[in-house]
Symmetry: C2
Subunit: 272 residues, 2 copies
């Protein structure tokens, strides 16, 4: 097995829960920075812009540059621009700034994220009609997560609404967030690293672990966030390691396998 | 092939479009009544009670008794009562009277129909939490149609929202409306007829034709309502006959094959 040069990290459930850093995660991030590993934060958060995420992390004590945060929204925007598409944006209001400046008149594509209360019948029907009336119009999904945990309990994420539009139209969504291989490739391209010399750390057995492994990375599951004990016996996915939290991942798994120790950290010099 | 004793008929798109009878359909119904065939109307309309449907048909000139109308809502109510379930009703307000009198406190089941504007994020999340928090709580769907045509264009039906909750929870919905075999069996039981001596007439290649054939009936597709030319080359379903409309179905297909002519029409004497 190759040594590790780059580390991809999920944010919510690994570094923090909401606005509170998880115990040991600030120390773990400092250790990782000092080790010289290439770092990217790869998140399916679809209610906040990249700038919001950087600010929120800074308030908790994590110093992260904007180009170190990889989101499904960023990937979707690149895809829209590359194909000259005019999207109908069925996304959370908080994410709108990440799509500012794109033409959205007479839409010929649908972008769907975690729109929350924005998932009205009216809005879903508008998206449906674009897809059914214009054969070939793509359905671009920032994520297909089933649900997430909030203070009041589990709540529906974007995935069920992606499934609804797929069922109604017969159109298969293009996922730009995790677990799509593309987002992992984007992160590694920015670091100049290969999948074999990279590892993903996450709390979601499907998006983080299975997705990263399909992209050729190793993957470490942490027992924080949305982790459930049944994840350790998942029928289709076996993490390369399972540890209690991000600190244990860094100390017990990453640091012993690091190829670069306080040398040139890959990719950290270049903004995207 | 056995002779025909009983005829099941879809309403919208076969007898009428909205409040307007289709050309020849009133005459066709008179001919069918006079022939002595057993008759049931089998509909996935989920915005109106059975009483509403009878009134709407009467206003167009169709004389139909309430017990002759078979709906997914009726089947769902029987199922809830048989299992002592307390439903969360994610259905159209117009359908609520069909569920009047059922206990709905601390729900342990979800009933989903075409709730239209009632499909808010909040309502879907409430349904989701019942299913995810109470393993074994059933998801009962009155229908799983993908979309329907209204004046402003195609619109999302119940099916996409059923798919959303199935994706979110991993629970498989029990469909009580077409194309479920149960609703066809319910109609035939009421008529005392076997599938082999019965025929379904409908405009929906999946719900009406494939569903009835799976239940063992013959099925006639009409070229009205939601019919599309591509239905005649459906990869998985071949109707027993395809005719221009309900009148042609009665004159060209049903009447020549009728076993009972102006004798005791099966099932018409007994209310359910």
């Amino acid at each position: 097995m190759e040594l590790i040069r780059s580390v991809l990290i999920d944010i919510d459930g690994v570094l923090c829960i909401g606005d509170a850093p998880l115990p040991g995660s600030l120390e773990a991030m400092s250790l990782l920075r000092a080790s010289g590993a290439g770092i990217r934060l790869v998140t399916n958060t679809t209610r906040k812009t990249r700038a919001d995420i950087v600010r929120q992390l800074a308030a908790m004590g994590f110093e992260v540059a904007p180009h170190e945060v990889i989101t499904g929204a960023g990937a979707a925007r690149k895809l829209l621009e590359a194909r000259g598409l005019r999207p109908y944006l069925l996304i959370h209001p908080g994410l709108m700034p990440d799509f500012a400046g794109l033409a959205t008149d007479t839409p010929n594509a649908v972008v769907i994220g975690d729109a929350a209360e924005g998932f009205s019948y009216q809005a879903l029907n508008t998206a449906f009609r674009i897809l059914i009336d214009q054969p070939g119009a793509p359905l671009i999904a920032l994520a297909n997560n089933r649900y997430f945990r909030e203070a009041s309990g589990l709540s529906l994420d974007a995935g069920p609404f992606v499934a609804a539009l797929e069922y109604a139209t017969g159109v298969r969504a293009e996922i730009t967030g995790k677990p799509a291989e593309a987002i992992y490739r984007t992160a590694l391209d920015a670091l100049g690293s290969t999948p074999a010399e990279s590892v993903m750390i996450g709390d979601d057995i499907e998006s983080d672990i299975a997705g990263a492994q399909r992209a050729g990375l190793r993957a470490v599951l942490v027992r924080t966030g949305k982790y459930r004990p049944s994840d350790e016996h998942h029928p289709a996915c076996r993490p390369d390691a399972i540890v209690d939290d991000f600190l244990r991942a860094v100390v017990d798994v990453i640091r012993p396998a690091l190829a670069a120790r306080a040398q040139d950290p890959p990719g950290n010099e270049a903004a995207e």
